[in-house]
Symmetry: none
């Protein structure tokens, strides 16, 4: 089945990025994205992903994914490459938000990495702002994500699959 994989990926995404309080709720979100499945199927999916429903500070409940190890295995077995830290450069992760890029680094590595990025991306980058473990990169408005992703994969010496669009 082809859709199962996509559905699982989507579930992981949804759970990562929003507060989902029940399987019905998840079913709704999924169907909005074209995956019509019943609660029973989600119960199985969530069990397979070792997902848990945790009480929140606000008195509600939300599903959360398990700490990466087991999850990574699950994802791997579904054919997707897990992101891994690059300890040589201090790079940990890269995310887009609008024309911004947020790069997380090991503590203390932000400044050094930001310098390298500045040197390499004069054309595409308006500026970088390093904290201690985070770099904010402001892209020029006319630089596409794909272009930027290629550039950063190159600068950081990582595979483009490690970049989260």
């Amino acid at each position: 089945m082809k859709n199962r994989r996509k559905r699982i990926d989507l579930i992981i995404d949804l759970i990562r990025n929003q507060c989902i309080g029940s399987q019905e709720e998840l079913a709704d979100l999924l169907s909005q994205k074209g995956h019509k499945v019943t609660q029973a199927t989600l119960s199985r999916d969530l069990k397979m992903l070792r997902t848990t429903k945790v009480p929140t500070d606000r008195g509600t409940y939300m599903y959360v994914l398990p700490e990466s190890d087991s999850l990574k295995d699950k994802i791997l077995s579904l054919g997707q490459a897990p992101p891994r830290a690059n300890y040589q450069s201090g790079f940990l992760s890269l995310h887009f938000s609008g024309h911004l890029i947020v790069i997380k680094t090991r503590i203390g590595y932000a400044a050094g990495l930001a310098y390298d990025i500045d040197m390499r991306g004069k054309e595409e980058i308006l500026g970088t702002i390093p904290g201690s473990d985070t770099i904010l990169v402001v892209l020029r408005e006319d630089v596409s994500r794909n272009k930027a992703a290629e550039l950063f994969a190159d600068i950081l010496g990582i595979d483009i699959s490690q970049i989260s669009f």
Copy 2:
């Protein structure tokens, strides 16, 4: 009530030391030790303890306690007002701009506050960059302002009305 504390302690003990698959099961164990309570009470106890039911490798489910920190606080503060650090001393204002949030703090408070924000908003926040009296927060693109406002009201211990949309 005197028994509540003892019951909670016992629940923690039981969950730590054996596999408990349902609240009914826990109720049985407790009653063997002299604590006769209904499932409803346990539901509340477990919610209060932030306990979660996790799918095991063997295809079963078991309750587990959360990582220690929050747990100790909960137990210690049983009955009293919920423990919440008062960050209001450092916090001055919060403004949105696109998927960014700019928080002004009293001088010197930005780094500390940013750290707390990082700890609390792993899901919703891509990263934070503290200056000395300003924190830049980059939200994930799919986090709405309302959700973010709720989150920050909670993190900062302020009323949501203090947040400027």
